[in-house]
Amino acid sequence: MVKSAFKKIYTFLIFLFLYAPIIVLIIFSFNESKSRAHWTGFTFKWYIEMFRDRQIMSSLYYTITIALTASIIATVLGTIAALGIYYMKKTPRTIMINLTYLPVLNPDIVTGISLMLLFILMKFQRGFFSMLIAHITFNLPYVILSVMPKLKQLDNYLYDAALDLGATPTYAFRKVVLPQIAPGIFTGFLLAMTMSIDDFVISFFTTGPGVSNLAITIYSMARKGVSPKINAVLSIMFAGVILMLLIINNRMSRDNGRKENVV
């Protein structure tokens, strides 16, 4: 009895610690005055101001454009790469897989500055495209690591059977292999989107004047002090991420459910 009461209280305290700041942040995005301590009335003012703010809107535009473009490119390139790696011999495959883990394990700050150095030395103007390349780079591993497990589950005989039945390799790939790895590709795409929208550090080092994503804008605003407008942006981002997460989670549990049915 005592033990279970302790567990409940502990769980409650931890969740309070985790969620109270976020909830306070969301609540005060609806606060009439600029105060972060006194509630003076409900308003959508800050959300309206947020939509009027040119800088925020421009960074929202860049965030979404870059996230979408980078995820699509990373998904295509990553899927092709995953197939290639899958068909490699053991040693090169191991090398490639380890290489794929490298950017995941590398600290963001190092990835960021190293890319920045590269762009500067190549005299590649930093801005939209440099940031796009950086995002593709850190998204690629997530796509590959999502697709690879699906490839491993793939029944090789299916592809051979399709060929045996007279399908051309392209046709067999499209009709037999692709549908089976599609869930992994989609999960990879969603993961890439989420990472991209969420990224601050790497974007911060690889962007150039005039181009910033939401995270960078928030950072520069926050450095100057707090403002309810930031609360509004963050609340919206929070809602967005939860939505994404729900979709990913839903897909994954569906995939898992299917796997269990097969076994």
Binding site: K7, Y10, T11, I14, F17, L18, Y19, P21, I22, V24, L25, R36, A37, H38, L77, G78, A81, L83, G84, I85, Y87, M88, K89, P92, M96, L99, L102, P103, L105, N106, P107, D108, I109, V110, T111, I113, S114, L115, M116, L117, L118, L121, A134, T137, L140, D198, F200, V201, F205, I218, Y219, A222, R223, V226, L234, M237, F238, V241, L245, N249
Partner: protein, 274 residues
């Protein structure tokens, strides 16, 4: 057909945008460029070992270590509680732990900024009791708080995922052999959970060591960790050589600590998996 050729565009991409950039950092850490050309030098590394910079490293390692330990102390019991719950409730609680993890860490840090600032909610509430607090923001403890807050889920989830996989029968077997609940924990549960603990430690220690955002927002403009130092070298003082040397040392520290954590993991899996 040569299907493996499909990996080549990716390999090329990785070469240009991951390997070459990392190599550049290595190169820049050992050269100086002046009018006469490019020279090899170890000056940058020598500078890293000057007392003021060593102090920054020391401080970063200390803060990251303290944060990691606090995350472990707070997170381990939480992971145990999560692992012990019955299934239906469990999945909800676990999802609730995952959500903050996916939230932008700027948002999480900023949330504490608004809570802790001079006119923030906490100061105001405590002010009602007639207590005037010294500044809550911009101290070392605030930075640690921010790190613990940001990285706690990264400790809980790996430990949890190892704990749930422990066969309940194994625990009953220990009890059957005369082990009291405490001994069951010390001799069976804890050793079996070590792989989760070591990945939790890596997942907390690494970002805590390399961050420059949490220290900047919660520690103030003069609070310097390795991350801030590196950022300064590349964005303000433009001393790429020194910045690269700092990055190389940072990567070395990370590789060493990861190797340490991994080796521990290996030992405790009885060599079965590796």
């Amino acid at each position: 057909m040569k299907k493996h050729l499909m990996a080549y565009p990716y390999a090329l991409w990785m070469l240009i945008f991951t390997i070459i950039p990392l190599a550049l950092i290595l190169v820049y850490s050992v050269i100086t460029i002046d009018d006469a050309g490019i020279h090899f030098t170890l000056d940058h590394f020598r500078r890293v070992f000057e007392p003021i910079y060593l102090a920054v490293f020391w401080r970063s390692i200390k803060i990251a270590t303290i944060s990691t330990i606090i995350c472990l102390i707070l997170g381990y019991p939480m992971a145990m509680i999560l692992a012990s719950k019955n299934l239906s409730k469990k999945s909800i609680l676990v999802v609730l732990f995952v959500i903050p993890m996916w939230m932008n860490f700027l948002a999480r840090t900023y949330a504490w900024m608004t809570l802790l600032e001079r006119n923030g909610l906490i100061a105001t509430i405590i002010g009602y009791f007639g207590i005037q607090l010294p500044s809550l923001l911009y101290t070392e403890n605030t930075v640690i708080l921010g790190m613990v807050y940001n990285f706690l889920p990264f400790m809980v989830l790996p430990v949890y995922s190892v704990l749930v996989k422990i066969d309940k029968a194994v625990l009953e077997a220990a009890e059957d052999l005369g082990a009291t609940p405490f001994i069951v924990f010390r001799r069976v549960i804890f050793p079996l959970s070590l792989p989760g603990v070591s990945s939790g430690i890596i997942m907390v220690f690494m970002p805590a060591l390399t961050t420059f955002v949490i220290s900047r927002l919660l520690g103030g403009a003069h609070f310097t960790l390795i991350g801030n130092l590196i950022e300064q070298q590349f964005l303000t003082t433009m001393d790429w050589g020194f910045g690269s040397a700092l990055s190389v040392v940072l990567m070395l520290i990370i590789i060493l600590s990861m190797g340490f954590a991994m080796r521990y993991e290996k030992e405790n899996q009885g060599g079965g998996l590796w």
